[in-house]
Symmetry: C2
Amino acid sequence: MATHPKEIKVAGRTLWTVLIGRPLRSSEASKEQINPFEGLSALSLDALTSVAYGPEAIIVVLALAGAGALHLILPITLAIIVLLAILVVSYRQVIDAYPGGGGAYAVSRANLGANASLVAGAALIVDYTLTVAVSIAAGVASLTSAFPNLSPYTVAICLGILALITVLNLRGLGDSARAFLLPTFAFIIGLLAVIAVGLIHPLGLHQAQPGHSLLSAHGLQVVSVLLILKAFSAGCSALTGVEAIANGVPLFKEPRAKRAKRTELMLGLVLGAMLLGLAVLAHRWHIGPRSQETVLSQIMGMAVGRHWAYYIVSLTITVVLALAANTSFGGLPILGSLLARDNYLPHLFGLRGDRQVFNSGIWVLASLSALLLIAVGGNTIEMIPLFAIGVFAGFTLSQTGLVVHWWRERPPKWHYRAVINGTGAIVTGAATIIFLISKFTQGAWIVVIAVPLFIVLFKRINAYYRSVTAAIGIDKAPPAPEGRDTLVIVPIVNVSKLTSYAISEALSLGQQVIAVSVIIDNADANQQRESTLSEEWEKWNPGVPLQLLHTDYSSIVAPICEFIDEQRAADDRQIVVLIPVLVPSKLRYRILHNQLDLILSRDLRKRTDVVVARVQMPFPPMPPRPDQRSVRQKKSSKR
Amino acid sequence: MATHPKEIKVAGRTLWTVLIGRPLRSSEASKEQINPFEGLSALSLDALTSVAYGPEAIIVVLALAGAGALHLILPITLAIIVLLAILVVSYRQVIDAYPGGGGAYAVSRANLGANASLVAGAALIVDYTLTVAVSIAAGVASLTSAFPNLSPYTVAICLGILALITVLNLRGLGDSARAFLLPTFAFIIGLLAVIAVGLIHPLGLHQAQPGHSLLSAHGLQVVSVLLILKAFSAGCSALTGVEAIANGVPLFKEPRAKRAKRTELMLGLVLGAMLLGLAVLAHRWHIGPRSQETVLSQIMGMAVGRHWAYYIVSLTITVVLALAANTSFGGLPILGSLLARDNYLPHLFGLRGDRQVFNSGIWVLASLSALLLIAVGGNTIEMIPLFAIGVFAGFTLSQTGLVVHWWRERPPKWHYRAVINGTGAIVTGAATIIFLISKFTQGAWIVVIAVPLFIVLFKRINAYYRSVTAAIGIDKAPPAPEGRDTLVIVPIVNVSKLTSYAISEALSLGQQVIAVSVIIDNADANQQRESTLSEEWEKWNPGVPLQLLHTDYSSIVAPICEFIDEQRAADDRQIVVLIPVLVPSKLRYRILHNQLDLILSRDLRKRTDVVVARVQMPFPPMPPRPDQRSVRQKKSSKR
């Protein structure tokens, strides 16, 4: 019988186990540490793949001012690359200062106080959710650019990929990081090669392009400072994900900080090169936004022609965009567990599943992203304004937190560090504000509403947990426990082995046992049952009284509750309701049994003044184990 | 505290209670008896409203042979009226012979044996389900004939009406019977008046009719005997529901049989008059089937014109067709409870809800009908072949059963009675077979598959119940119950009032109590928790040992199960796992608590070798009742 529960568990979960793998030891989880190249695949895809939507976002804004404004792509991209450099330097410092990882929530909790950390936490949750949705939607957009006849199925494909990533993450992040190496480097090398070909000797400049240009001849707008700022902040979406490495320092092999900093530098160089190359090509070829094709796809098509190289790189982009969503799945569940530890989210989020991952966080992230993908119909462009605000609020808070950190700690060269982080804070803060203002009516208001709502939720949960802790005195010596006499009430329907089994267990539990059975008056069948039951009980004579409870109603719970109340009023004994349950070996037979259990368990769950217990008799009865039987025999021989 | 569980129950179910009404006493249910007029509204609408689809079914078949065959409507309807007369006489005899009610299942169980009764039971279930679907679909078809722009919403309207009827029936049949009186008599008088106007002085003969005629000029078919038989059996669907009164005799006031027989006679006369009148008009005006308008609607339109009278009667027909579905809701749940009593269906079907109705049966009927309505897209004509087969199989079995009954009992004039029922059995049996053969490929095969499948299901359930009864020896004196020593295992997470509360309850239950807590190795937070917990436990010193269970995995269930196995191997004590649960006063706070309960309850449910109990501490704690406190004080002063 020792292996019995596990066997049942395995049988019932076979498919699931195949999907998410066998349970892992905690020690196994901690061995899953990564080197810088694996770090690039596990934690940098979010940032690298933003080349698929960052330049596009700039061009869409510029196109509002007509074809003449498109040349601004180059200076704007250069400004973004400068900001990227500041962020990379800053986050290399974050890695030095917080080698334990943590991200904006941890940095601002340590330096800026609880309220700032809640803002960071809420912004990060919004950011993580949007990252998943934007990444997947961008991946699918890239796919439907290459295969336009797939575009009616955009949302379905998005949800399919989301489901896949969710299962992958329920398996765990570590294993998959290594699996991602190949597509990651195929993407980096492939896209850099395509850009190089485009710069040196474009092959597909005169091929026809599908879809019609979104570049309107009408509605020209003056190229104003506001437009440039809008385009700049839109393009900043290409910087999202730069923070992920600093959040995940503990995932690296020792020396952690050194390896993480190396990864951050690699990320900065590769991303900078890609952005610059794409901007030069877009500028050179006057790329405008098109209805059915992404900017990246247009550039690739012109660079290498619509041949095998184009399709291979397109497919790679689809794959890595989908994998980029994975970065969020590594981040939000850990953030959720930190918030749960600090009593800002239900403690459920702090519970690890069999694969050592925080299942609740993964499910919540998957559900929120799915809702979002459905709501916007899988359209990336609509989500980008929402997306970058959370990221940049996080940037601003962690940079500001670092300035406070340097000021407090004052390590060597702290002035220099504070200046870099201060600059970062100011630029990212400015970008956040520009974003908020310029995109407010286009969806950014959702973030403005969502972040405070999350903060209110965190605070209410925290207040509730504090009131509970105070009331039940966690970690304070409570009153000494004291036993009482126990009355066990056993609801029965007939005289049978199940009844006998239940009453045996009841006799083991309490000083007094009463069997009860509900007789519904005015039902002929029941009145006959009453006399049969009484007779049989007397004949059986189990040494336990049988109390027949009469009722006019059809509910069998009400008379049992009334009986409990009577007993409760009589004295101060503990009352246990022991519900006999027959457990058939096959699941499908359950429906044939235990209506009593079904009804009583549900309704008695609301009574806090009784202990509700289920005594389960297997059917067919399981033979006792050999060693068990011998123990039993030894015992009885002693008696 | 006495009213506490009920209060919670009411709060949680307020909306539901408003919908289905307060719980009823069994004595109240038995007072809800009806007189013959109410019987007509409660039990005869099914039969009466079949005028909405019976004549239509005949005309659809005849139209296959071209316009020339339409004149056969008259002789075919006359034959159906003769069969109606036989059935009415027969069922008046069934009422005499089985004043306790019961229908085909009870009659054949008493006279033809278990197997025949299972055929009747299966056929009735199919019949009842189809009655609901056909009635509602016909009602909506009548509505969309009058208001053609509603026709795209056919299925949605069908499901809405089904939901309404379901709720009405969860309230109970009795009350509603009286509420149905008005629409029933509005329908009877209205339709008879329309027919009379049509016969004497039609008002709308030359008005345009919507939709195009389904009468094809091509594909003419020879008017063969087979065609006439097909048309006859199709028209027999107008006789469905004639049995309902005999099934529901106990619903009538005393003298039951006399009143029920009077109702049956009224039903026969009214239905016969309607069928005859409609056939004469259809014949006179050469009515053919049309795509968007029912035959009944065409006749009404021609008789009174499309003015207020047409719309009022159309609306009445919609209402009573929907109410006709109610007859099935009165029938199937009672049949289900009989089958459950005889161990052919899960005992759940024998359980009455708060309103004295068999809830499970109502839900199953509603679900099956909804599936059917969706599957056929709310199209009545497609369902009629399926429909009548079940009804006529039931007719045949109950008529045959009556013949056996008369032969066994031999009351005065039994020869005469047996001849009538025998004729009924032969004609309805023949109609069943014609139906089966002629409509086999058009859907009747579904019934041919469904009925045996139901029978197999009944038999398997019965065999299983018998094996359980044999194995656990229901109603045989089982072994005498015997108490054992009890070990109570209390999984805890920290030292708190909840822990203290749970251990107090545990001390009341068993001779030995062990508190256990799972420590996950390799998790820093947990190792700190381990030392804190040990220290606090020692400081508190509750007189109960604390066992820390170490695990490498993240599951907290596995180590607890292993600990149970160890204890189980050591001796033969009963093992109780007592799970401490905090019950917050507001439902929405539940998510914040009791992850332990969630996981343990689910996984320990599979272990039949332990008793799983929940000790529930309310939060905030409820003050003890005054009388309770005094009891407690008395007790403690005694000590």
